[in-house]
């Protein structure tokens, strides 16, 4: 229990530490902010990159066929208990006693039935690189590092869609980039794009590699040499302007580094997408990303002040940093969401805020999902949403429960039992219907406490009961480990994925019900032998609607082509979303996965507009990843 204050403070700081603390050892403050000129750096590209998460050779720290760090993963230990390895996360090194039962109960999975992944990447299975000699020669003369090593190329050939990871686990590779280049600064990118245009080479920008829209897949029909432009080494904060509260940052920086480095100066951006450990600033801009705390800080389009992008036509940027302009359609909106089809975002000026003084998690239990949604709607109406407010449905609540680590004291488990008793027996909540909202408050201590009271008062009107900070925090932790959990599932015949949409308030309940039911029905129709997990959460609130996140997973034993079945079900679920007034995507983007619905989404003229921009900016389709259109 979170009885005393020191504990509470510890928890409050925990999240910041999760974000900041994935690297072991103390961070060297001096190396954090480098306002140095690019040229000065040119000669020492290989100097140690302390404080930076992503090395050029990603394989040094990350899995090649799964999510995240090599040292962190779920596994069932010799006793048959689930355990999370490594030391990076709060859950690391802990036993999770409920997970096995949950997996067996929810999916009908069995520890005896394993589907292990191919352990090693066999370079010989990778297509040989098609190199453009002339391009290569000129590139060498620029001194920009590059590689056509098979491992490097495979790493940049995929995002994290289920079918991509499934193929990797089976050791199958499709079309992969023919080489990887690591520009070190904006000018390097200008040079690379110039050369690519000159020699007609296809360029696919690569940031954090966390795409879930097939955006990084190389078009199989592409016959030109494909160059993956990895921005990960362009990861410096170039300057911080404390007067205007802005920071100018290279676009390759990943979320956790950006946040940590700013924190060292007492600032933050507050932009925290679920993938922030690995996703990059440029990627956020290119996909119109959304962060968990957007209620305070805004989504990426609210945070960006200035963008610099290198296109085949040259560099596009605005001439000043006015906070708002009336100068025709905002050119930033051609860039944001362009998904790498127009050019490479190299530098971004972003809003920054002083670090919050105080953070507090919270949670509310509702008797049912309907009440929960009604509460969230009211909170949105009164515009008093905390930094984050999420409503998990019953299935997801149980899922979160299954991830509770082993408790050390009998007292804690006794108290847990007492709480359960209070909610289900005394308050009469049906354990199979109740649902939980998780909350995160941020700001001045005073204001946070006041804000907290306001939100809990509203919740009470909808039958909500405060359910403690611990539940809330575990909810957010789930976000970071869920991708690891998918890898565990895949070891035991369970495949799954998440997808999202945004929808007007009056449709929220309908869309949740219908999409979940559609998934279950489609699984049945497609011959899935076990009942699937089909669950959702309302994960963001807006004035006029909400963002809804669906998780869907099933046990594929007995299916000959599970990925195909999976894709059919996901396709049907997306159709259901659209038929229920949901959007094609709230923040994941379109990529190639959802391209087929673009025309219906933005109308013929809309597609024509986007096409004509593409035709002008990139007439030779140098940025040929074929996303979006």
């Amino acid at each position: 229990m979170l009885g005393n204050t020191s504990d509470r403070q510890r928890i409050a700081q925990q999240r910041l530490r999760i974000i900041a603390g994935h690297l072991q050892g103390p961070v060297d403050g001096d190396s954090a902010i480098l306002a140095a000129e690019c040229k000065a750096q040119g000669s020492k590209t290989d100097v140690c990159r302390e404080g930076k998460t992503v090395p050029r050779r990603r394989q040094e720290i990350m899995k090649w066929n799964g999510w995240g760090y090599s040292d962190s993963k779920f596994l069932f230990n010799k006793k048959g208990q689930a355990e999370f390895t490594g030391k990076r996360y709060r859950l690391s090194g802990m036993i999770i006693p409920g997970l096995k039962d949950w997996m067996e109960g929810t999916f009908g999975a069995n520890l005896q039935h394993k589907t292990p992944a191919t352990p090693l990447l066999t370079s010989s299975a990778v297509q040989p690189a098609t190199l453009n000699k002339a391009f290569l020669e000129e590139l060498k003369s620029t001194g920009i590092p590059f590689s056509h090593d098979a491992e490097d190329r495979v790493f940049r050939a995929h995002g994290h869609c289920l079918h991509e990871i499934f193929a990797l686990r089976e050791g199958k590779f499709g079309r992969v980039p023919d080489m990887v280049v690591w520009p070190n600064c904006h000018n390097d990118v200008v040079k690379i794009v110039e050369l690519a245009c000159k020699h007609n080479v296809c360029v696919i920008p690569y940031g954090g590699g966390t795409s879930v829209s097939s955006a990084l897949e190389c078009p199989p029909e592409e016959t030109r040499s494909i160059v993956s432009l990895d921005t990960s080494q362009m990861n410096r904060i170039l300057w911080i302007d404390e007067k205007n509260l802005t920071a100018h940052v290279e676009a390759g920086i990943v979320g956790q580094d950006l946040e940590r480095l700013l924190n060292e100066s007492g600032y933050c951006t507050g932009h925290e997408p679920d993938s922030m450990e690995f996703s990059s600033l440029g990627g956020w801009v290119a996909t119109r990303a959304s962060g968990m705390k957007k209620n305070i800080y805004g989504n990426i389009e609210d945070l960006v002040i200035h963008i610099r992008m290198v296109t085949p036509r040259g560099v596009i940027e605005k001439s000043c940093q006015g906070p708002r302009m009336s100068t025709g359609p905002d050119i930033h909106h051609f860039i944001m969401g362009s998904e790498g089809t127009l050019g490479v975002v190299t530098e971004v000026t972003m809003k920054i805020r002083p670090m919050p003084e105080y953070q507090k998690y919270g949670s509310v239990v509702f008797p049912n999902f309907e009440q929960g949604v009604a509460c969230l709607r009211e909170v949105a109406k009164q515009r008093c949403a905390p930094a984050s407010i999420r409503l998990m449905d019953n299935e997801q609540f149980k899922f979160g429960h299954a991830l509770k680590p082993q408790v050390s004291s009998i007292f804690t488990s006794f108290l847990d039992g007492l709480k359960t008793f209070y909610i289900t027996k005394f308050k009469g909540f049906d354990p199979n219907r109740l649902c939980v909202a998780t909350l995160l408050f941020e700001g001045d201590r005073e204001k946070v406490l006041q804000h907290e009271k306001q939100v809990y008062d509203i919740a009470a009107k909808f039958g909500g009961l405060a359910a403690g900070e611990d539940n809330g925090q575990r909810g957010y932790m789930l976000t970071f480990v869920i991708a690891y959990l998918r890898d565990l599932g895949m070891d035991y015949y369970v495949i799954g994925e998440s997808f999202e949409t945004s929808v007007p308030w009056d449709r929220v309940l309908d869309i949740c019900r219908n999409v979940k039911a559609r998934i279950i029905q489609e699984c049945k129709d497609k011959g899935v032998q076990f009942p699937p997990l089909s669950t959702c959460r309302v994960t963001q609130t807006y004035d006029t609607g909400a963002c809804v996140y669906f998780y869907f997973a099933f046990n594929y034993r007995g299916l000959s082509d599970p990925v195909h079945v999976y894709e059919q079900v996901e396709h049907a679920a997306r159709e259901e979303i659209l038929a229920n007034g949901g959007s094609l995507s709230h923040h994941h983007g379109v990529g190639k996965l959802r391209k087929e619905w673009m025309r219906d989404t933005v109308s013929n003229v809309g597609v024509g507009m986007l096409k004509s921009v593409k035709d002008y900016v990139d007439p030779d389709n140098i940025f040929g990843n074929r996303n979006l259109l």
Partner: protein, 684 residues
Amino acid sequence: MATEAIYPHRDPMLKKRDDFEDMLEERRNSSDLRYALRCYTPVLYKGLAPCKASMLKSMVLQSDQLHHVIGQVSRETGRAADDVQEEASAILEEMAHCLQLSTVRFFAFTLSKVFKTLFRSICVNEEGIQRLQQAIQEHPVVLLPSHRSYMDFLLMSYILYTYDIALPVIAAGMDFMGMKFVGEMLRMSGAFFIRRSFGGDKLYWSVFSEYVKTMLKNGFAPVEFFLEGTRSRTSKSLTPKLGLLNIVMDPYLKGEVYDINVVPVSISYERILEEALYAREMLGVPKPKESTSGLFKARKVLSEDYGSIHVYFGQPVSVRSLAQGRVNRCQFNLVPRHIPRRPSEEIQSFVNDSAYRLVRAQEENMVLKPWVLLASLLLQNHHQDQTAGQKRGMVLEELTAQAVWLRDMFREYGAFLHWPDHVPPSEVVSSSLSLHRGLVRVCEGRVQLAVEQGGQVKPGEPHSTVTPEEELLSQAVIVLSCASYRNQGLHVFLRPALLASAINAASSNLKQEVFNSFSFLRNMFSNEFILCPGATVQDFEEACYLLVKTGALQVTQQELLVTERGQRTVAFLTSMLDPFLQGYQVVCRFLCEEATENLTEKQFVPAVRKFIIKHLLAGRLRYTEVLSSDLQKNSLAALLRLGAVQKIKAAEQGTLKVNKVMVNSLEDTLGGRLPTQKAVGARL
């Protein structure tokens, strides 16, 4: 006779249907009181938000949709919103049911008694009941029974109570409200009352649709209504009414529920309680207004034997799967869903097609008794006799032999025929005849329609006070009653019969010509029979398939040829349609010869009736059946649809403007005096 194999599986092409169970059997063997008081715990919809009938009303009154309409009405009329709200509340009071288990138990008790005296058995397919039970748990359910008798909805609730299934709420016409006490009783057994017409009344429509949708969405109870809108007086299925179907499909189309299960229910009566009543009504004797005392007068029906009832609960139809690929639900994305809008054309045509499909599903599962065959044969014989002037009636053995022939044909066409195979055909025939002794009589070994009341009334006889017209009408009562039994089986060979008539009418055997002629007839009769819109080609192919399968027809690349052994079939089929053909022709002739400038719609039926009586008495018409006002109205509707007659809006009433050239040419085409091609051209 607990379980009977209804259907011999002779043809693998034919559908498998469930077996029946007689639910009265148990009633005859155990206490009705205990049955009425037994524990009733139906399975409910899994998403049910439990709520009382009174809460339902406030949900309706507080709904966004009603709110919106109240605001609109208040702005348009300048009345205060509270005032309009009050009116809405009053409408709801008038409409709403107040389902009470105690009333249902009362009905369960009395109906048990009544049913046991009236009927030999009430047979229900229990597998259908199980499917329904399943369906109710999964999604909101709409029950769509066929409508042949007042009995229908009491019977439905009675069955559902017996099988422990959630009791439905039933949309009933306001006319029941006239019966004071009974109206309230029905209300307490789940009926809610709607006005017969409320065309322009926005508020009424809004209250009504919201009420139905609220009950449906919340899974409060299955919603039951009659797709045909009213009782069919002819035993033919009626063209479906779309209003309520539109309403119940709306929650699915707008995504408010995941799916809706629609369950067609086919109720077939061996003898219809209202048999003679219907015939009189169609002949112009007005229908008695529903009143409680009238109901008691009807008590004498209690002493008669009405045979058995078969109730078949069809396969639940998922609205979602019906709409798959037909309706783009995104059309509701851009306007708030609670603002009422006219359904788009896409939706209108979807609902219309679905309605036809559902009525056909009802038809397919209608159980046909041997009497249906006998009535068809006797009617044909009756009319042949009239013209040939032979001895009246059919020799019993001949009738039996023909019935067996017809039985086999029915079966080959996939009819759901309930012919007991373990009983010799002669017994089957005689037991059927005795059940319907009001309509047929056997004299000197010959079976004939009981058209002569109380002995032969010879025209010249001095003591006769009966005018020839009265005699004609009383004969017509018998003929129309018989025709209604024949009609029960019409749907089975409607398509082959249209084809047979088309072959007869076409000037050659060329496939194209026969098709043109088929298509003309089909189009002409699409107000008369259930013919799915836009399915001409499928219907033609189905007809060809059935006739070829039974060896009556040969189809070559170019031609359709009736085989030697097919002559009898084709002759039978043609004469099935003949009365209808003649009816439409005579209506056309009337319009050409007698219609005046200011003939109103209201005057039409009496005027055409007079015209027909004149011709019948003069012996210029063969079929007494054409006196049916149903047929006359249908033919007028067809002519209006084809544009041969136009309705001119006048101050009081619409008058009918006749395009005589067109009507004339339609008549000639119907009579086979004009090739179809030209008629088709004339229509365009």
